[in-house]
């Protein structure tokens, strides 16, 4: 993984390890010492309202996503360790075009948010599932599972058409993206990082544990990248900017699509956020609900970590366009 070097968070000294540099155990020790020293010095900057608000949102995004990430990583490790590759060959149609809808609708049974679906989709590809089908699953699972649909129904009481519209538009996005990948995707763009490789003689339980640790360290790091981005935008962009464009039908769709990308709200919560966006048209809110689980900064970071930056750079923008079009189209018919 030679993606961009990690940007140090505030309060963390810039001690990113170089290859053949200091041993990582020593680096960790230096970081911990620096934290201890700063803890006692407590510079005044830590008490600035902006720094505190940023920190609260950053910690909140990480904490909110962590249980879902852990769940996804456990499930993904279980697939890698216990489910033989032949199982997927048996249940999925062999042609990618036919496998896409099956995998897309299978997303309805994974109760989690987008943080859980990325590691699972990664392990599906490693298990020999055709990438087009795994990507359809990746997009549909966080958007159409029962928990998310129930949350949407609760957030929009008396508007069942919003639940239906969300379901249809999200399935549409998953299928279109799966088929697009089956038609135009190139294997070279997709670099699924190697998972944990079981050593000869290693017990299954240790394989499982090592796979979990491997995925937690990979995906967890990228989750933090997303948290840093979301916290920064959340603290920097005032709400008044949003309300200023609520009346324009085109701008409001674009602004809520952009908001879904940068806020990186968990898909199980985004319906409540959409409901609170008073003044925006139902279609613009639907765009928010459809874009959020498919493309957001946290998700882009996780995808870059799991499938490689070349993949994320192509997949995320196309998904964004498809998601906006699907939501506007479904919204025009249903809402």
């Amino acid at each position: 993984m030679s993606s961009a070097p990690p940007t140090p968070a505030p309060g963390i000294p810039d001690v990113a390890p170089r290859r053949r540099g200091p041993r990582s155990g020593d680096v960790l020790l230096v970081i911990l010492l620096a934290i201890a020293v700063l803890h006692f010095l407590r510079p005044a900057v830590f008490d600035q309202p902006a720094v505190q608000a940023w920190s609260t949102v950053f910690v909140a995004v990480c904490l909110q996503a962590l249980p879902f990430l852990v769940f996804g990583v456990l499930l993904s490790a279980a697939i890698s360790t216990f489910v033989p590759a032949s199982f997927f060959a048996r249940v999925l149609p062999s042609s990618p075009a036919a496998a896409v809808p099956v995998a897309g609708l299978a997303g309805a049974v994974l109760p989690g948010c987008e943080c859980a679906s990325v590691p699972v989709a990664g392990s599906l590809v490693r298990r020999g599932v055709t990438p087009a089908a795994a990507l359809a699953f990746l997009l549909s699972a966080p958007a159409i599972n029962p928990v998310v649909l129930v949350a949407t129904a609760v957030a929009f009481p008396g508007e069942p058409e919003m639940v239906l519209a969300r379901f249809l538009a999200s399935v549409l996005v998953a299928l279109v993206m799966g088929w697009l990948w089956a038609s135009f995707g190139r294997p070279a763009w997709l670099r699924v990082r190697e998972g944990h490789v079981a050593a000869p003689g290693e017990s299954r339980s240790e394989s499982f544990r090592a796979a979990v640790q491997h995925d937690l360290l990979h995906a967890g790091g990228f989750l933090v990248v997303g948290g840093l981005t979301a916290a920064t935008l959340n603290t920097v962009v005032p709400r008044a900017w949003l309300d200023a464009v609520a009346d324009s039908p085109v701008l409001s769709v674009l602004v809520l699509a952009a908001l879904a990308v940068v806020l990186a709200v968990c898909s199980e919560a985004d319906a409540f956020v959409a409901a609170s966006l008073v003044g925006f048209s139902p279609t613009a809110r639907l765009v928010f609900l459809v874009v959020g689980p498919a493309v957001d900064v946290k998700l882009i970071a996780l995808q870059a970590g799991t499938f490689g930056p070349r993949f994320a750079a192509r997949f995320a923008p196309v998904t964004l366009v498809v998601a906006v079009l699907a939501a506007v189209g479904v919204g025009a018919v249903l809402l």
């Binding site: 993984m1 390890p17 680096v27 904490l63 962590l66 544990r209 967890g220 979301a230």
Partner: protein
């Protein structure tokens, strides 16, 4: 990052998440109902790290000491596995470091000043207000409920009633100050400010100070920059209070 450091980083993060989940600290970041999920996640992190450490220790004992130093030797070649974690895994230290250093409190007036939205009026007619609090001459209302009642077309249930509101102080441009709360639907990233204008001088009330305002309905005013109507309370008394354990309000 070598394998041993990976165990340590997961252990560090797991312990911080556990601490936040066990204490009330998590209420500043997520909904209270999310605590069991945080506990499970923390325990998984800690278990994965401890089992990894245990295994490394066993391997170390079983092998010649100079051959398996366990914590890598700078060339990143573990004996039993392919490779260590990527550099991005170092970022997992960041949430623990921010918790340790800033210990960020629940969002307050800074966020309210930037993320306040107009109060949405629910459809239908406002029903009656209900009786006063037991033994008191006022009725306690959540801010958001007072807000939409005070802005609705029919304010007759509020007239001649004393209302008690609790929240923290946020300064206001253009006269008066706000008694305010933050509503979160899932975590602090989706925070929205809820405000009611207190028609009076802020005086020496500091921002983020928690107060109890008892007062009566007054006609709405217009938000100085947003242009939307804001609910107003004319204070009879303002008391300083301690913040509640869970400061957020639905």
């Amino acid at each position: 990052m070598d394998r041993m450091t990976g165990h340590a980083v997961l252990l560090l993060l797991g312990c911080y998440v556990l601490q936040v989940a066990v204490t009330d600290a998590h209420l500043a970041y997520v909904q209270g109902g999310f605590r069991p999920f945080l506990l499970v996640a923390a325990l998984v992190l800690i278990a994965v790290a401890l089992l990894g450490l245990l295994r490394a220790w066993r391997l170390r004992r079983a092998a010649a000491p100079d051959e398996q130093s366990g914590d890598g030797n700078g060339h990143d070649h573990d004996h039993d596995h392919g490779h260590g974690a990527p550099r991005v895994a170092w970022l997992l230290v960041a949430p623990a470091a921010v918790l340790a250093l800033v210990a960020p409190p629940a969002l307050g007036s800074f966020t309210v000043a930037r993320q306040t939205a107009p109060i949405e009026l629910p459809g239908g007619v406002a029903d009656t207000l209900g009786p006063d609090d037991p033994g008191q001459d006022f009725r306690t209302l959540p801010l958001v409920q007072y807000g939409w009642r005070a802005l609705s077309d029919d304010v007759s249930p509020l007239v001649d009633r004393r209302i008690r509101l609790t929240g923290f102080v946020t300064p206001r441009e253009g006269g008066g100050w706000y008694v305010s709360r933050i509503a979160i639907s899932c975590c602090a990233a989706d925070a929205v400010g809820i405000t009611v204008v207190v028609d009076g001088e802020q005086g020496d009330l500091a921002p983020d100070q928690w107060v109890e305002v008892i007062g009566t309905w007054a006609p709405p005013v217009t938000h100085p920059s947003g242009g939307f109507p804001e609910a107003v309370i004319a204070p009879v008394s303002v008391q300083l209070i301690d913040p509640p354990a869970d400061t957020y309000q639905g």
